[in-house]
C-alpha cells in the first residue's frame, strides 16, 4: 500500500499561509453597512468574510417564545452556499444550529436583556466565505453590529481561536489548520470586564499546552479588540465632534 505522507503545515517556524505562530490573519471590520438593519457590520479575517445584521429590541413573534422577565436573544448563524468549496446546501445544518447557540451564549452576557421584557434582539450572521474559526469571526462582527444598533451593552465581546498544529501551539487557525491540526480552542472574552464568555476545545491538549493556547488566544482577543474599537470609532468619530445638544 502506498503511504502518502501528510503535508507539513509548519516548516521552519512558518505556517502554511506564511504567518508566525502568534500572528493573526489580516483583519478588516466595518460597521453600519446595511441601512435596512438597526445595526450591522462586515468583517474580513484572512479569507473569512462575515456580514451581520441586528434587529431590535422589538416585539417577539410568535409570542409564546417571549420571556416576561427579559428579552430573548436570537442568533442565526448561516453559511452561504458559495462560502465553501464544494458548494454547501443552503439549508441550515446541524452545525449551523449549534454555532447559533454557541454565539448566543457568547453574546448574551454582554447585553442588558432584563431591560426589555417580552422583546427580542435578533442577530443574523451570514458567512459569505469561510476559512476557519468562523464562530470567532462571527462573534466579533456580531458584537460590533450590536453596538451599532444602539443596544446597551456591558462590554464588547471579542473572540479568537488558538490551537495545536504539527505539535506547535498557534494563534488564529485557518481552514486547513483547523481540519488537519490536532486541537482547536475558540475563546470569546469581554476585555474590559476580563470575563470569558465562551471556551470550547476540540482535540487533545496537555495541561501545559492548554495554558499556553489559552494565553495566546487571550492575546489575540486583545489585538482584535483594537480593530473593533477602530471600526466603531471611524463610523462615529465623524458625528462625534464637539458641540452640546440643546
Amino acid at each position: 500500500m502506498n503511504v502518502v505522507e501528510k503535508q507539513k503545515l509548519i516548516a521552519e517556524g512558518i505556517r502554511s499561509d506564511g504567518r508566525k505562530f502568534d500572528e493573526l490573519r489580516p483583519i478588516k471590520i466595518e460597521s453600519g453597512v446595511l441601512p435596512n438593519a438597526n445595526g450591522s457590520s462586515y468583517l474580513e479575517q484572512g479569507r473569512n468574510k462575515v456580514l451581520v445584521g441586528v434587529f431590535g429590541p422589538r416585539e417577539l413573534h410568535p409570542k409564546h417564545l417571549a420571556n416576561p422577565h427579559r428579552a430573548v436573544l436570537r442568533c442565526r448563524y448561516h453559511m452561504a452556499p458559495f462560502s465553501t468549496d464544494p458548494r454547501r446546501s443552503p439549508a441550515p445544518s446541524r452545525r449551523d444550529t449549534e454555532l447559533s447557540m454557541v454565539m448566543r451564549s457568547a453574546l448574551e452576557s454582554a447585553l442588558f436583556l432584563e431591560r426589555y421584557p417580552h422583546a427580542s434582539i435578533d442577530v443574523f450572521v451570514e458567512i459569505l466565505e469561510a476559512d476557519g474559526s468562523t464562530r470567532c469571526a462571527s462573534t466579533v462582527a456580531a458584537s460590533v453590529a450590536l453596538v451599532d444598533a444602539g443596544i446597551p451593552m456591558t462590554d464588547l465581546v471579542v473572540a479568537c481561536s488558538a490551537g495545536k498544529v504539527d505539535g506547535e501551539i498557534v494563534l488564529d487557525l485557518n481552514d486547513v489548520e483547523d481540519k488537519e491540526g490536532q486541537a482547536d480552542l475558540p475563546l470569546a472574552y469581554m476585555p474590559k470586564l476580563g470575563k470569558v464568555t465562551l471556551l470550547q476545545m476540540d482535540g487533545v491538549l496537555t495541561m501545559e499546552e492548554f495554558d499556553k493556547a489559552f494565553g495566546l488566544a487571550l492575546q489575540g482577543c486583545n489585538k482584535i479588540y483594537e480593530f473593533q474599537k477602530e471600526a466603531l470609532k471611524t463610523k462615529y468619530a465623524k458625528s462625534g465632534v464637539k458641540e452640546t445638544v440643546q
Binding site: R58, G150, P152, M153, K192, K233, Y236, E243
Partner: protein, 231 residues
Amino acid sequence: MSQLLENRVLVVPGDMLADGGLRPGENTYRLHGKIHAARVGLVEYNRGTVSVIALKANYEPKVGETVIGTITEIDLGSWRVDIDAPSQAVLNLPEAIGEPFRPEMVLPNIFGIGDSIVARIVSMNRDGTPVLSTLEPGLGKVEVGRVVRITSSKIPRLIGKRGSMVNMILKETGCQIVIGQNGIVLLNCKDREVEQLVVQVLHKIESEAHTTGLTNRVYEYIKEMKEKSKK
C-alpha cells in the same frame, strides 16, 4: 473626583469612565463601584454625574413624549400600535375618542390597521408597555403627508435649541413638520419637490448631528437647493 477621561471623548461600551465618587447617568452602568459606558457616544461629566451622550440608541419610550406609529392590531376596545420601541404600545378606546366603550362601536372605522397616528405616551403599563392617547389637539390619525425615519437619538438635533432648527426649516420651506420622539417625522409639503428637499435636509441633519453651526449650514443648504431648482 475620580474622572478618568476628558469631557466629550468618544467611548465604546465597556470603557471605564470613573472609579467611584460619581453617579452613573444615562447610558452608563456601575459594576464593582466603577462606572462603565453602555453605549457608543461622548462621555460627559456634569455636577457629579457621568453620562454618555449616545451617538446611536434604540428608542426607549418615556411618558410625555409625542410619537408617530402604525396600527398593527385591533382588539376589543383597544389598538396595538407599532412605535419602533422594544414593545408595541396600547391605545385604549376612551383615550382615542374621549367616550367610554360601547359594544356597538366599530373600532376599524376609527383607526384601521395600517393607519398612521400621532399620539402621546400618557403612562407605562407594569410590563413596560407604553399607553397612548390621541385626545389632545394635534394628535390623531395622519390623513396626508410623508413619513420619514431617522435615528431617534438625533431627534433633539432636528428640533434644535428651543426649536430653532425645525422652525427655520418650516420658515424656509413652508412645510408642516410633525416630529415623533421615536425617530419618525411626518412632512406635509406644498409639492413633491419641496418635500424631496426636506427629506434630504433630514438625512443631512441625521448624518451631521453633533457638529457645530449645523443650523446655519442647513440654512445655506436649503437656500442653495432652492436656487438650483429655480434654474
